[in-house]
């Protein structure tokens, strides 16, 4: 299963993903997909240099999968980190980027419970 490196940006705490060029991006779609464990470990060491450079905090590897062209973390926690809270739809700029649907969908289909929203 592919992996990706996730962190929080130091200046504002926002969730960021390590992109193929070594920069950090708030969109999971821009994150580098890593297929090999050895490469994942190598890039994690690279990411840790950005901790020293005061760009990010706490870089970690997460597992992701690609479905219908969308990159989705496998853990609910990381889905919420990647796409934002699933609540506060009353406020325009904090609306959920994805909706985690009812449990029945989730249990039956893994990432099939995720629906794209208008926000990316």
């Amino acid at each position: 299963m592919p992996q990706m490196i996730i962190a929080n940006r130091l200046v504002d705490g926002l969730v960021v993903f390590l992109a193929p060029g070594g920069e950090w991006d708030t969109a999971i779609a821009k994150g580098a997909l890593i297929d090999e464990d050895a490469e994942a470990q190598r890039l994690l060491e690279v990411a840790k240099q950005d901790v020293v450079r005061c760009l990010v905090i706490d870089p970690n590897l997460i597992q992701v999968r690609v479905e219908n062209g969308q990159v989705l973390p496998t853990e609910i926690r990381e889905v919420i980190r990647a796409f934002g809270p699933t609540i506060r739809t009353d406020l325009e700029d904090t609306g959920p980027a994805v909706v985690i649907a009812a449990d029945a969908d989730r249990r039956s289909g893994g990432a099939g419970h995720l629906r794209r929203s208008t926000k990316e």
């Binding site: 969730v15 005061c54 609910i76 809270p85 609540i87 506060r88 406020l91």
Partner: protein, 555 residues
């Protein structure tokens, strides 16, 4: 309310400047995250799932309208336009930028508010009855003693690195609205045979991973002994508490392991050496603080019983709101008005910047410029003239802040859960939203009567799930969210911990399970019994059978 003196103002301003220097050094790479983390936490700044979160103290839940406007300004300028009131009577902002945090802390300091000690292993915000000073059943205003304790414990060098955080709550009423029995120290005011007012002292209460109801360590404590006795409790805890295991570090663990009698013995020994020393609180000091909480300039009024009855009869919606959200005041002609932050489908405790400003305006117009925060995540106007009730209700109604569900099933306590919190295992807010939508019929809610549902997204129990009539705990099972129900919890003067109903349920089944529990209650109820009384009478089995009776898909 308490106003900063010259020392307070100078200190918090200096502290804000100090934090600015610390942030500058962090951003410049002069401090590592490991070095910086304790510094930011000392100022209430956490890193959560999506951003930094700033927790701001609301001492004993009392705010001026100016402070509410400051909260609104911060929400609008530095956050995403809303704030979240918590079960510790504090406010949290979820989308704070580190680089802007020093500006926020400076603006808070200008409004006599701090976030200092809203995190860390120290004495946290001291909480109290949201109706303090106004409740008809109150013996004396607990905020005087809260403020005394706040000043004493603020940056106390001996107690800034306790084994773990330390929470104190004070009630001045026999009807406990401050959940004192589930705090590290709970203080219950009462009168002795001589008619003097003092405190029953409870110790070792708490929720979290290992919940306990506090035990009485002292039946009677004179107010002038308050600081020396609390210090003795803290000192024994500081020496005896475990620092090797975070899950066993709270005072409740040590009290329950050694037993209350042994703990009392150690405290009394410590207290014996200090009780007549420098911490004896002078009467003048108590009176000096009391003056800050002097009653506002009430008009000489009489209760408007007949007029209010006529207005209620004329408007059923107004009548419902008065019945639900308005509480008797100790002063004739006045009333206490609760503002529910629990409209159906909304996030419990959340309020937008615009509504905070509107609440501040209403406080100025109708309630001497003061707003209270309850640990049940609602707001309160404590000094409203009965003759203003109808107009206030109309204005609240227009703001969608007049949901008449105080103390009813949809008045749900809920932590931020996995939508925001780095510690959570499951989302809590969507469960609260599902339940409040499923139980939005006000006639039905009133038929059900007093009912508390408390929801936590993990076992740390910020949503007080152990002491909800129904408690809901979110757990992670093999990567999926499940919810364990407990029944029969209560945080009042007869506090009890809930009993686990059975295996966890998936989110989609929770509202249905609540419905089955309510239906079972309504069948078993005698007369106008509250749910908690029926539960205590009939036990858990009928509810277990209703929820799990052969058709469960529970995991």
């Amino acid at each position: 309310m308490y106003r900063y003196d010259g020392f307070d103002a100078k200190f918090v301003a200096e502290r804000a400047a100090q934090f600015r220097r610390q942030v500058t050094r962090r951003l410049a790479g002069e401090l590592t995250e490991d070095q910086f983390r304790p510094l930011r936490l000392m100022n209430g700044l956490y890193l959560q799932l999506h951003a930094y979160m700033l927790r701001v103290n609301v001492p004993y839940g009392t705010l001026s309208s100016k402070q509410v406007r400051t909260f609104a300004h911060i929400a609008r300028t530095y956050d995403k336009g809303f704030g979240h009131f918590t079960t510790r009577q504090n406010i949290q902002y979820n989308w704070i930028k580190l680089e802007e945090a020093p500006d926020i802390i400076k603006e808070l300091a200008n409004a006599e508010i701090t976030s200092i000690q809203s995190s860390g292993n120290c004495v946290r915000n001291i909480t109290s009855d949201q109706y303090a000073g106004c409740a008809k059943d109150e013996l004396s205003d607990p905020r005087i003693y809260c403020e005394l304790l706040r000043q004493y414990s603020f940056l106390h060098p001996e107690f800034s690195y306790l084994p773990r955080k330390f929470k104190i709550a004070v009630t001045g009423s026999p009807n406990d609205r401050a959940a004192v029995a589930v705090h590290d120290i709970g203080l219950r005011m009462h009168q002795n045979e001589q008619g003097e007012i003092g405190f029953e002292v409870l110790v070792g209460g708490g929720l979290g991973r290992t919940p306990y109801i506090g035990q009485t360590i002292r039946k009677w404590l004179a107010p002038d002994d308050l600081l020396s006795y609390v210090e003795a409790i803290l000192r024994v805890y500081n020496m005896q508490g475990r620092r090797d295991n975070i899950h066993k570090a709270r005072i409740k663990i040590i009290v329950n392991q050694m037993g209350i009698d042994k703990y009392r013995e150690l405290v009394d020994k410590e207290w014996e050496a200090t009780k007549n020393g420098a911490l004896k609180v002078p009467h003048d000091e108590i009176e000096r603080i009391r003056a800050f909480f002097a009653a506002p300039a009430y008009e000489l009024l009489t209760d408007r019983t007949a007029e209010l009855a006529a207005a209620r009869k004329a408007d059923r919606v107004f009548d419902r709101w008065v019945r639900g959200n308005v509480i008797e005041h100790k002063v004739p002609g006045y009333a206490i008005v609760n503002v529910s932050l629990k409209a159906p489908g909304r996030v419990p405790g959340d309020i937008t910047a615009d509504k905070m400003d509107a609440v501040a305006d209403l406080a100025d117009k109708y309630s001497f410029g003061e707003v209270r925060v309850s640990h049940r995540q609602n707001l309160v106007f404590v000094d409203v003239k009965q003759s203003d009730l109808e107009q206030l209700w109309r204005e609240l109604f227009a703001l969608e802040l007049a949901t008449p569900n105080l103390g009813l099933l949809s008045d749900i306590i809920c932590c931020p859960g996995l939508d925001y919190c780095a510690l959570a295992n499951a989302r809590a807010i969507p469960i609260a939203q599902d339940i409040s939508r499923a139980f939005s019929d006000l006639d039905e809610l009133q038929r059900i009567g007093h009912f508390t549902i408390n929801i936590s997204g993990c076992m740390n129990a910020c949503g007080h799930h152990h002491v909800g009539h129904i408690g809901i705990l979110g757990v992670d099972k093999r990567g999926e969210e499940f919810f364990q129900l407990t029944l029969g919890g209560s945080s009042d003067q007869h506090a009890t911990l809930g009993d686990r109903l059975g295996p966890g349920l998936p989110q989609a089944e929770v509202p249905g399970a609540i419905r089955k529990i309510v239906d079972t209650f309504l069948v078993r109820r005698e007369h106008d019994e509250r749910f908690i009384d029926t539960y205590r009478r009939v036990g858990i089995e009928p509810f277990k059978a209703a929820v799990y009776g052969g058709e469960s898909q529970a995991a």
